[in-house]
């Protein structure tokens, strides 16, 4: 084959492959952003916003920075880093299956994902915006977003904080993992769990973990939105674990309500995907799941779990790992004519 001809064949093959790759998705691409954004859905818009660091004051932190959907919905740090390297005060909870929780944040201070999404945007040590107007004004500078909000939301001035938080929440609601080995077992497939995992599930119930970690998501009974299922942590005072890991330094929900009955109360977290979300507890002080199980036995049930019990419970907890729907990385609307920082 003559070289010139080969080049032309390869060029058209390349172009064809690019088209083939992109077929099956209608999500925007750089080259045709303005056209495709006319048919964008709320979830697609929310996904763009979720992955977009330009929502932070200096363009460095997105929702996904701390709640990384590629990495179990969290960042594997004790405390997350916000703009200018500042640290938050509590371990980032996973975004996966957060839709099933009736309150959000460790202290349950917001009732749903939409209200939750508004918080980090204006937290000085997270996304660092002075107020929601600052976020909205920055997003308004990005023509693709202006058009996308018009496409998704009716009314005048659709690019506002309520719609922005609604879109992010709409995307987050898709991040569920109800397909874990345990779910399959629970649906009747006895082969979905190993013997050790089954033993762990029995041990988990017998020793009393299900007192709090009950229900479809191992986060307690399903309550109405805004009504949280809380538990004191640590429940047993003055254990060596508490001294070692300084759990009691954080007053929990008390800081929200200033009610004595809320002292050291925290939302019971889901255990789905817990094997992916080290380190553990509100202060991320414990790196391994083994140690976390031992801590819980002692501080909540006043039990010294033996190695066999711990091993089986950890095996069971690993069976709660599921998979999110395949995520197409969203192409973000271009920054036109301004600098983010």
């Amino acid at each position: 084959m003559k070289r010139k001809h080969l080049i032309s064949v390869l060029l058209s093959l390349t172009a064809g492959l690019i088209v083939a790759c992109q077929s099956g998705t209608k999500e925007p691409q750089y080259a045709d952003f303005d056209n495709v954004v006319d048919t964008i859905t709320e979830v697609e818009l929310g996904k763009m916003l979720y992955f977009d660091p330009r929502l932070s004051s200096d363009g460095t932190v997105s929702c996904n920075s701390c709640h990384n959907v590629m990495n179990g919905g969290t960042d594997n740090r004790s405390f997350s880093a916000g703009v200018k390297g500042q640290l938050g005060g509590r371990n980032s909870p996973t975004v996966l299956n957060a839709v099933f929780l009736s309150v959000q944040f460790w202290d349950g201070r917001e009732p749903n994902l939409k209200e939750q999404a508004k918080g980090p945007l204006i937290n000085p040590v997270e996304m660092g915006n002075k107020n929601h107007d600052e976020v909205i004004n920055r997003v308004k500078k990005i023509p693709g977003y202006v058009q996308a909000f018009k496409t998704v939301y009716p009314g005048n001035e659709p690019l506002n904080i309520e719609n922005l938080a609604t879109a992010i929440a709409a995307y987050e609601k898709t991040l569920t993992t109800l397909n874990s080995p345990f779910d399959k077992f629970n649906a009747g497939d006895e082969t979905a769990l190993s013997e050790l995992e089954k033993k762990g599930w029995e041990t988990f119930k017998t020793v009393g973990c299900t007192t709090c970690h009950s229900g479809d998501h191992f986060a307690g009974p399903q309550l109405a939105e805004g009504q949280g299922f809380y538990m004191k942590f640590p429940l047993i005072p003055n254990t060596s674990y508490d001294k070692k890991y300084k759990f009691s330094k954080d007053k929990g929900r008390y800081d929200v309500t200033k009610s004595k009955s809320d002292m050291h109360m925290f939302r019971v977290p889901t255990l789905r995907n817990v094997a992916l979300t080290a380190p553990y507890f509100h202060n991320g002080a414990v790196s391994t799941l083994d140690e976390a199980v031992k801590v819980m036995g002692k501080t909540q049930l006043n039990k010294d779990l033996n190695e066999e019990e711990v091993k089986s419970i950890v095996a069971f907890l690993n069976s709660l790992t599921g998979s999110i729907p395949t995520q197409i990385a969203p192409v973000l609307p271009p920054t036109v004519g301004f600098t983010v920082n």
Copy 2:
């Protein structure tokens, strides 16, 4: 570009695209990570590494943080932020089409993507590792990566810095955008460009931009790997633009070679996707493409371009925006039993 070289690039591009296309169906998911990683490809492994903030010393910065493939391959900041909010000294170049450049970095100090990838890992103000051993030791703590490196690379101890950089480069080589409206026009489709864009292309050539921004990627003639095409910037001394934007503060390639002839010399960057990569120049001092074109006219060609010329050139530059292959967000191997920070 020499034909032989073009054929080889197109062949590897085609191979990369086939891999990227196929990868959608079999990329690892949390729940079956250990199984699927046995069939992982080099490009898939490289993509995981590229998106993984655990390659940085405190788990906050990935390659993608500064070279965001969802956002034109860059971060729209003047200087990127590394670990602990520290700032780099030059504007992050786009990763898109970087494979076509014969040297990497603004000062051309590395010959290819593999060698480039090693730098930011151990730059104290970027990913912050003390040395490559620190990175490798952290990655070795992640069982999914240990297995993935075994799958992709033969030999003993496959998880090493050479293979890690090779994998990242393999992924980066797939990030090309040879499907812009201009490419279609250049291949014979007269309708692919508007009249204004065509006028801009003519103006671009007439005023002299192609003196440097020539070739298939508007980055100069294709040279052998490691041999860079450099130009002095600013070429015309003491313009008002230089005073305003402080371009001359940076000595460019001189800092690498200490040779007087390299004073203020910079690699000529590709103009592909330039409409996505504001702010402009090595110090990211200019926010708009209009202003960047005026600056170039004056500082490089000693011409005061008029509004009409600027408008048409900017339209032409916008026609260089292409689309990357659709990116499946990689599910990252779980952190088991350690805290990243």
